[in-house]
Each structure stands twice: as C-alpha cells, then as structure tokens.
C-alpha cells in the first residue's frame, strides 16, 4: 500500500471550511459581525427612555459582556441580560442579549457611540446610533399608561398585543353548552406571564378548561402567537345577558410599561326551554346516549350485583340530573356514588357520567331489571328526547346460609351506626368491700393537723424576730462602747510591736462600731462617703484620712518616720475620736 494518498473531495472540502473559517475570523468585515446594537426607537421625548439592545454571538458557553463606552447625554437606568446557548452539530454558539435602558439627560440629537468587544483576539465594534430627543411630550406614538383599561381595538392590525373573546353560540337554550373562547395575540415575547382575569359569567355555570391552545397566525405583516383559553358555560337564567369583558394584565418591567387589555362585552340571548316537556324531564340539555349493564347476569340472594348506567355525550355532565330510579320488585337497591369523566375536545365539552348502583336480590329465580329511562332536551333539534335501555335479565340463585350482606361501600368497610343507647353494664364485684367511714372532716385529728403548720409558722416568726432584735442590740451595744474600746486599744499602742497598725486598727474598729458595718475593707472614697452621710464635716473627714494615711505610711516605711511621731499621731487620734464622738 502506498502511504501517499491523493486528497479526496472530502478532505478537500474540509480544508476549504477551515480556510473559510480562518478567513471569516481574520476579516470580520466580510462576515457578519458578532456584535450588533439596536434601539427600540430613535425618536423620544426627554421624559421617556430608550432601550438599547446589544447582541453578542460567540462560540463559547457564555458570550462575553460588551463594555459600554461613556454615554454623553444618557443615564443608564436599567440593565438586563439573557444568554441563549444552541448547539449545531458539535458547535456551541451562544447569543448574549444585553439590554440597557437609557434615559436622556438633555434634548437634541444624541449619539450612542460604537460599542466594542474583544473576541478571540479581535476587536469588533457596532455602528454608532443617533437618537433625537425632543422636549416635552413624546413624538413617538404614545404608549398606553399602565392601570388604565384601553378600549379594545376592533381588529388585529399590527399591534404588539391584542385580545378578543367570542362565544360559539350567542342564542343558547338554558343549560345548553356555550364555549367561551378568549384569544391573546402577541407579536412580541413577554418576560413575565400575563395575568388573565376571567369575567364573572353571571347567570352561567362556568368551568374554565385548564388546557390552553397555542398556534401562530399572520396579520398585518406580523406573526402572532395566539393563546386560546376556553371556558365552558351553561346558562342558568333565560333572557338577555352580557358577558363582561375579560381582562388581561401584561406586567410591566423595566423595559416596557405594562398594559391592560380587555375584550369587548358579549351579548347573549338565553332561550327558555320550550313547553311540553315530558313528566320525567329533569333538566338535562345536550346530546346524550344511555347505556346500562350489570357486572354479572348470575346473582345470588343477598349478594349484591352492580348495575352500571352510563350517560355519555356533551352537556353539563358535572351537574347532570340523575335518572329516576324505579324500585325493582324482589330487589333492594342502594345508591352509590356517580363518577364523571369529562374533557374539552374539538371545541366541545363532552364526557361520560357513570352511576353505579348496588342491587341485592331478595328472591331466587329469573329476574328482569326494568329499563332505565332518561329524558333530555336536544337544543339542536329543539326537541325533548327519551332514552331507554333494553331490559336486563338476571338469574338469581338461592342464598347460601350466610347473613345478609349490608350495603358495602367501595373499600369494603361499613360505617358504624349506633342502633340504640343503653346504660353501661354493671361492674363485677370489687375485691374489697369497705364499710362506710365517717368523712375525714368529722375527725378532730384531721383539724389538729391543720394547726401544725400554723404552730410552725408562729414559732418561726417568733424565732426570726428574736434573732433580728438580737442583731440590732449587738450593733447598738458596739456603738455605745466604741470610744471606750478605741481608747483602751490606743492606751496599749506605744508598747505594741507595731504601734501604727494598732492605732490604725483602733480608728478602723471605732468607725466600724459607730457605722454598724465593717469599714476595714472599704476604699478611702467609699469611707469618706459613708462618713459624710453620717454627718461628719469636711475638716474632721480630712483628719480621719490623714491619720489613716499616717498609719499606713508608718506601717510600711518605719524608717521614714521621725522619733516622737508616734506619740503625736496617738494624741491626734485620741483628739479625733473625741471630736467624732460628738457627731457619730
């Protein structure tokens, strides 16, 4: 095999693509620029805003964000971004939309300069945009102010949004199905869901269908996405009636004002049902078929079989009047719940209503279940019609020796029903039979026990009183003997090992006794405050402080004291105590 291969068409085309790609990258002017800028309008008034949309396409997961040049004459009042990623083959492209809401700060012709972006080493830029800002009111078409219901435009002629409502039959009979259709046309995308407020539908039984129909349509050169909402209505009152406008609120965002759209009211004439209704007509209007079946044609006495009656068609199935059930000889019948299955399909609301009845045969033999009749009004033919099911034959076998089965509901359980109320039964003989005792309140011992806490409280009270009095008396005694005790201590001070300490202690004890509280641990300012409160004047207070200071000094630095200082301090202290005695 030769290693050299001629380039095939495929490899050649691949090379061409690479070359083209290279070309498009290097010569951006030839290819579509990855960045474009646009504004929603070019003429605004100075009290309006303009939306600048910058779209950046790139082959990365997130498009790079463009840097906005300094804008002369505009304030940026809002920004929003959205990024859309798409994959074609193995190529990922992302489109970033950057929206800036700009408010002009001056009038005249303003320019949004070129916006540049750096992509794969290349710089791309947009064209500058010129915007004319006019004074005062807008020269642009006025937008609808929010919270103001705009009159509905008659036709779809190129608006951004349009709503309309219609009914499929403006002249229905009472109870006849009417489909109310609301359509919302939108030519632009919305960021938020609009809110739909249905009319009241006064005079109708209404059921809004949850499914929305969506399609697109062309009008006035624009493509509209149409959302259809259907409401099934059944008139309940005859006469002329009006369906009020439906309102669609489009929420405003920072780029657009909101809008409130409403449909035109719809006039209907509800016709009364014609006279001459059969006796067993109960008000069913629509088109129906009737079917009846039993779950088994072989039954046993006292064992229930199920008769299933199905009414299908279009009409107010949820509120359909029940067929009249006739008593069947030899059978007991039990009402069971009816189920409705309805849906909105092809512009019609139709479905089935199924009645399940439990029938319990009471006699053996061959029985015939009588036909079920159902009368309804056909609005199309404007006539009453009667449906009848064929009779059903059932063979009933004799009962087995079992008690009759009561009516059972679907889960096989039965509600407890109290048949009678009786007193609760007598009790068994208790193990112990006590003889009657006189009540405890008749015994003196019980009342004596009451006195016990009273006595304890009284004793406690006396004891607490005595203790506190004793404490008070001690304080008084100490106060009275304070001077005597101080002088006695001072008398021995000169002979003591530490005379300064003794003098200081004597004064501290004296003050403690006088003030009825220990003052040894108090700071000087606290002591001064206490003495001032006790009525000691400033001069005496000063002397107390100096004696205590001298004692402290003498105690801690005996070398600094002079001879004879102790004696002076002693006599000063004695004099001070005498002076204090007059006040304290």
């Amino acid at each position: 095999m030769n290693n050299y291969q001629l380039p095939t068409i495929r490899t050649l085309s691949r090379r061409l693509i690479v070359l083209l790609a290279f070309f498009s990258l290097t010569v951006p002017a030839l290819a579509q620029s990855p960045i474009t800028a646009s504004v929603d309008r070019t003429t605004i008034s100075d009290n309006e805003t303009v939306t600048l949309t910058v779209v950046v396409n790139s082959q990365s997961l997130t498009a790079p964000r463009p840097t906005l040049p300094p804008l002369d004459g505009f304030d940026i009042v809002g920004t929003s971004t959205s990024n859309q990623i798409s994959m074609v083959g193995t190529t990922i492209t992302s489109e970033g939309q950057y929206r800036f809401q700009l408010r002009p700060t001056k009038t005249g012709t303003l320019t949004i300069p070129a916006i540049t972006i750096s992509l794969n080493g290349q710089t791309y830029s947009t064209d500058p945009i010129t915007i004319t800002v006019a004074q005062g009111s807008s020269t642009a078409p006025p937008t609808t102010a929010p919270q103001q219901s705009a009159p509905a435009p008659d036709t779809l002629n190129g608006q951004d949004f349009f709503v309309e409502a219609e009914v499929d039959n403006p002249e229905p009979y009472i109870g006849q199905q009417v489909i109310y259709t609301f359509r919302f046309y939108q030519a632009v995308n919305l960021f938020d869901q609009p809110r739909y407020d249905a009319p009241n539908f006064t005079g109708f039984w209404s059921q809004q269908q949850p499914n929305q129909t969506q399609y697109t349509t062309q009008a006035a050169g624009r493509t509209y996405r149409v959302t259809e909402l259907h409401t099934v209505l059944f008139p309940t009152v005859a006469g002329k009636t009006t369906i009020e406008p439906a309102v669609l609120t489009i929420p405003g965002d920072i780029f657009s004002n909101g809008d409130i759209l409403s449909t035109k009211p719809i006039d209907l004439t509800v016709k009364d049902l014609p006279t001459g209704a059969p006796a067993d007509f109960n008000g069913a209007v629509g088109h129906f078929t009737l079917d009846a079946a039993v779950d088994s044609n072989k039954a046993t006495v006292n064992e229930p079989i199920t008769l299933k009656v199905t009414i299908s068609g279009d009409g107010n199935l949820e509120n359909l009047p029940d067929p009249t059930w006739e008593d069947i000889d030899g059978w007991r019948s039990f009402e069971s719940k009816a189920t409705t299955d309805s849906s909105f399909k092809d512009g019609k609301f139709s479905g089935t209503r199924v009645y399940e009845r439990l029938l319990v045969p009471t006699v053996a033999g061959t029985a015939t279940l009588p036909p079920v009749r159902y009368v309804y009004f056909d609005p199309d033919a404007a006539a009453y019609r009667t449906l009848t099911t064929p009779p059903i034959r059932v063979t009933v076998a004799a009962a087995k020796d079992e008690p009759p089965i009561p009516a059972v509901s679907s889960n096989g359980k039965q509600d407890i029903s109290q048949l009678a109320t009786d007193i609760r039964h007598i009790k068994a003989v208790p193990p112990k039979l006590a003889t009657a005792q006189p009540p405890i309140t008749h015994s003196a011992g019980y009342w004596l026990l009451w006195l016990l806490p009273l006595a304890a409280l009284a004793g406690n009270f006396v004891w607490v009183r005595r203790q506190s009095k004793l404490r008070q008396n001690t304080a008084l005694a100490r106060k009275l003997h304070a001077r005597k005790r101080a002088l006695k201590t001072l008398a021995g001070a000169l002979n003591a090992t530490d005379p300064y300490n003794t003098i200081g202690q004597a004064l501290t004890d004296y003050l403690s006794d006088k003030l009825a509280r220990p003052v040894g641990g108090l700071t000087r300012p606290a002591l001064a405050e206490l003495l001032t409160d006790a009525g000691v004047d400033a001069d005496t207070l000063q002397r107390v402080q100096s004696v205590l200071t001298a004692c402290d000094m003498g105690r801690f630095s005996p070398m600094a004291t002079q001879a004879g200082h102790t004696e002076t301090l002693l006599s000063d202290t004695k004099q001070l105590i005498d002076d204090l005695e007059k006040v304290l």
């Binding site: 007193i423 009790k427 003889t435 009657a436 309140t441 011992g445 019980y446």
Partner: protein, 258 residues
C-alpha cells in the same frame, strides 16, 4: 406527732369489711345481686344491693350497679340518686359519668342550672373530679407544704434558693387556694344546700307543708333539687338557682348524701 401520723394513715386506708349475715359474706351477697341483675330480675337485684348498703358497705360499685338495676326497672329517680352516690365515692369513674349522663337525658323536667350560684357550681363541678376526703387531704397537704416553704424562705438566704423557693411557694399557694375553694364550696353546699333527687314518679310541689296548700308546680322522677329544710313529714325544696321552691311530702325526694 407520731400518733397523729398514724391517725392520718388510718384515715386514708380503706377498711376491709368483714360482714356476715346468715353466714353469707358481703362479697357473696354482691355476687348474688349481680347474678339476679344479669338474669333480668331487676327488682330482686335492687333488694339485694340495698341489703348490702344497709349492711354498711360503702363502695361505688354497689351504688353504680344499684343505679343500673333501678334504671332497667324504669325508676329514673332512684337510678340518678344511686349514680350520684356512686360518683361521690368514685368521682372520676367514666362508667358512672356515662350512665348518669344517659339517665339525666331521659328525665322529664327541663332544669336551667346555669342560674345556680357560683359556690354551688364550683361544688357541682368538683364533685365530678374529687371526693370530699381527697379535697380535705389535698388542701391540708398544700397548707403544710406552703408553711414549710415560707419557713424555708426565712432561713435560706442563697439567691438561687430564694428564687426557687419563692416560685414554688407561689405555685403551692395557688394550688392551696384552688383546693381550699373547692373544699369550702363542697362543705358549704353539703351543709346549706344538700342535693336531693325526686324519686316519686310525679310529685306536686305545694306552697306550704300540707295537702291544703295550692300546687305551684309539678316535678318528675329524676329531677335534681336542693333541700332547704325538713318540717315534720314535709320537705321544703328549691330548684338550682332558687327560681322555684315549694314543699313536697317526705319520701318523694331523697338526699344524695345519706
């Protein structure tokens, strides 16, 4: 002190009755009554239960079963009377409550008891929860506890201890007051407004103690009344709330407490 404590123990302990009559114990008599009841011989059962009570047996079950026998015999007045007596002994018994409620629902007279005084309302509702002895003991225990806490507060100065003691004392004081209120209301009611039940089928209530007085209204079996006074062979009664009152012959009405 020790003797008092012993006395207290003796009061709460129920005494076992050892009774004998014709060689039959109280338990055997009770069994016989229950058998008679179950055989449907309610009159005989009533006699036997009454015999037991006359022997001095004080048990809520006897009164409850007797009430049932009267109920089955169609005597609503005696049924309610005995259910009430049973409830005095076992106030929290669900069966007694149920049967009493059922029996009351079958009485003829419509009595509006909401106009009764506060004291008697409190007494009536406490009857469904506590026996008189329970209230007596409960109030006493709360009182002792309260005194102990007060003494502790005056001696134990620790701030945390003080707080705990004060909170406990408040709670105990509230319980004491509640218990004492019920106790007092029951004592007052028992003394001044003893409850009674009309046991006669129908009784005319006259304006005075005698046949010659005019009939003011009529009461039917099972109606609960209050006895005001007894004079000779006549009893003066009133309906709850004192709306109506009058005289009835003794024997047509039975006091609940016997």
């Amino acid at each position: 002190m020790k003797r008092l404590f012993l006395a207290a123990i003796i009061f709460i302990l129920p005494m076992t009755a050892v009774l004998a009559q014709d060689g039959i114990s109280a338990t055997e008599l009770f069994l016989r009554a229950n058998k008679q009841y179950e055989a449907g011989d309610f009159s005989a059962a009533i006699d036997t239960y009454e015999q037991l009570i006359n022997l001095g047996v004080a048990n809520s079950t006897v009164y409850y079963n007797l009430g049932n026998a009267y109920f089955k015999n169609g005597d609503l007045g005696h049924a309610i009377l005995n259910y009430r007596r049973a409830q005095l002994l076992s106030p929290r018994d669900d069966d007694i409550r149920a049967n009493l409620a059922l029996a009351r629902s079958k009485t003829t007279d419509n009595i509006h008891s909401n106009s009764a005084s506060l004291v008697s309302q409190l007494a009536t509702s406490s009857e469904q929860w506590f026996t008189m002895n329970e209230l007596a003991w409960g109030t006493l225990v709360m009182w002792i506890l309260l005194a102990a806490l007060i003494i502790a507060i005056s001696w134990w100065y620790h701030p945390v201890a003080q707080r705990i003691l004060r909170y406990s004392a408040t709670i105990v004081a509230i319980l004491f007051l509640a218990s004492a209120a019920m106790f007092a209301s029951r004592t007052i009611t028992a003394q001044r407004q003893p409850a009674a039940i009309i046991v006669a089928e129908v009784v005319d209530v006259t304006s005075g103690p005698g046949e010659q007085y005019i009939t003011e209204f009529t009461l039917h079996s099972g109606t609960e009344v209050i006895i005001k006074e007894t004079r000779g062979k006549w009893v003066r009664l009133s309906l709850p709330g004192d709306q109506l009152q009058g005289w009835v012959p003794i024997g047509t009405v039975e006091p609940v407490a016997n």
